[in-house]
């Protein structure tokens, strides 16, 4: 993964809090993706200003000891494959 990449949600994709369940949702034309807590936490940090390393650091500060450094870059890359972040 490029070290200077600053992931951001694709323009067609909105991150919303579901009014019924409180879960994070990715909303796009004709589709809703219900996110689990970890996925929501990662995608909220994909603001187009932070690099993946910075996102990892921020998550590590909130969740010390979690396997963030291994899992988060893989997750972001997978979400990019779906076209939801770029």
């Amino acid at each position: 993964m490029e070290t200077d990449w600053r992931p951001a949600l694709a323009p067609a994709v909105l991150l919303r809090r579901d009014g019924v369940t409180g879960a994070d949702l990715l909303v796009m034309p004709e589709r809703v993706v219900v996110l689990n807590e970890q996925a929501g936490a990662v995608l909220r940090l994909c603001d187009g200003a932070s690099t993946v390393t910075q996102i990892v650091d921020r998550l590590l500060a909130d969740h010390p000891g979690a396997p963030v450094a291994e899992e988060v870059p893989v997750f972001i890359d997978r979400v990019r494959g779906e076209g939801w972040v770029r």
Partner: protein
């Protein structure tokens, strides 16, 4: 209410008026008059109630929603309640000014219809010259930065152009293409003999679809709404009756599905009389075929009953006269022979002429010809 699903989508039919006269229009054969339409304030209340129930998406549809001069105001009210708001349009009337208004109102995405890849054929199927307006609409949407989806209803007269249709969508810059084989209710049922493709046409379309899907994987989504008359497997209409979606018609009639206007005895509620929560949770219409407890045999004992819920109620009614029977598209339905007779009758030459959508006399006999309806008002 426990155990009750929450709705995810609201189809808002803002008007049944439309400059196009597609012979497979999903609007009811008896169109709602313009004078009976909900106001923008009514719609604002409906959007608020829908969002409160959990609705995430709204589709501003018609007819042609651009015929509502207050469309930008309606859009803004949907966006304000937090709904992801999509315009579903023929493209006719989408000028630069109106696109700017809608963008300003916070519109999220646009779905544009096209009737065929070839302009002459597209105009012939739509019943008026509209292809240049569609081209312009596609350009304006893409330039605005909103995601553009293309919707194409497929039938005998355009299925052989599938390759060109997908290529057209890509040249217009779409991010999604919905290829919807005609569903035979309402207007399409009147025109079924003229619209049903042949099995050979569908067989030819299949490798084309597969090739494009492979090529576009990860970039452009290609949706295929199955030709259920031919597949022997019913579609889970609307993801199950009263389980995902609410349709509200121009006059406030609330239905579990846009084709359900035609079901006799359904007695659909209106958003003018009742809150949407009551309509969703308690109205007899939304509970009539909800879940699986009502299922007849052979559905009740079928392992697929939680997948397709007995298929489409409107189709069961259209074919058998009883909305409570198994969808005859299902190979296991005792009425399946009725569908087979329609798809296996040989019938190589296109028989009947197309009956274009237009105003229709109440109680007109099915099959009565109604042509040459001018658009209800000038647009653009």
């Amino acid at each position: 209410m426990t155990g009750l699903p929450r709705p995810w989508a609201l189809l808002a039919e803002l008007t049944h008026a439309c400059p196009l006269r597609c012979p497979y229009c999903s609007n009811p054969v008896e169109l709602v008059r313009r004078s009976a339409e909900l106001t923008a304030a009514d719609w604002a209340r409906v959007f608020g109630e829908a969002a409160g129930l959990g609705v995430v998406h709204t589709h501003l549809s018609g007819g042609e929603p651009l015929l509502r001069p207050d469309l930008a105001e309606i859009t803004a009210s949907a966006v304000r309640t937090g709904l992801y708001t999509q315009l579903v349009t023929s493209g006719v009337g989408l000028t630069e000014t109106r696109m700017a208004e809608l963008l300003d109102a916070g519109l999220h995405s646009v779905q544009l219809s096209v009737q065929d890849a070839d302009p002459v054929s597209s105009d012939r199927i739509g019943g008026r010259r509209s292809f240049p307006a569609k081209e312009r609409a596609a350009r304006l949407v893409v330039e605005s930065g909103l995601p553009l989806g293309l919707n194409v209803v497929l039938h005998r007269h355009n299925l052989d152009s599938l390759d060109e249709i997908i290529a057209l969508g890509l040249s217009w810059g779409v991010s999604r293409i919905e290829l919807a084989n005609t569903q035979y209710y309402g207007w399409a049922q009147l025109n079924r003999a003229a619209l049903l493709p042949t099995r050979e046409q569908l067989a030819r379309a299949e490798p084309t679809l597969r090739r494009w899907r492979d090529r576009l994987a990860g970039s452009v989504e290609v949706i295929w709404v199955v030709p259920d008359y031919f597949e022997g497997i019913p579609k889970p209409c609307m993801g199950g009756w009263g389980s995902l979606s609410i349709t509200v018609g121009p006059d406030g009639t609330a239905l579990p599905c846009p084709a359900a206007y035609a079901l006799p005895g359904l007695d659909p509620p209106s958003v003018r009389d009742r809150p949407l929560a009551w309509i969703w949770e308690s109205s007899p219409a939304f509970n009539a075929y909800r879940g699986t407890a009502w299922l007849p045999e052979p559905c009740a004992g079928c392992p697929r009953r939680e997948i397709d819920f007995g298929g489409c109620r409107c189709q069961a009614f259209a074919i058998t006269g009883d909305a409570g029977r198994t969808d005859p598209a299902c190979a296991l339905s005792p009425d399946h022979h009725l569908i087979k007779e329609l798809t296996e009758g040989g019938d190589p030459a296109a028989p009947a002429e197309l009956v274009y959508r237009g105003p229709r006399r109440r109680r007109g006999a099915v099959g009565e010809v109604m042509v040459s309806a001018p658009p209800e008002q000038p647009i653009g």
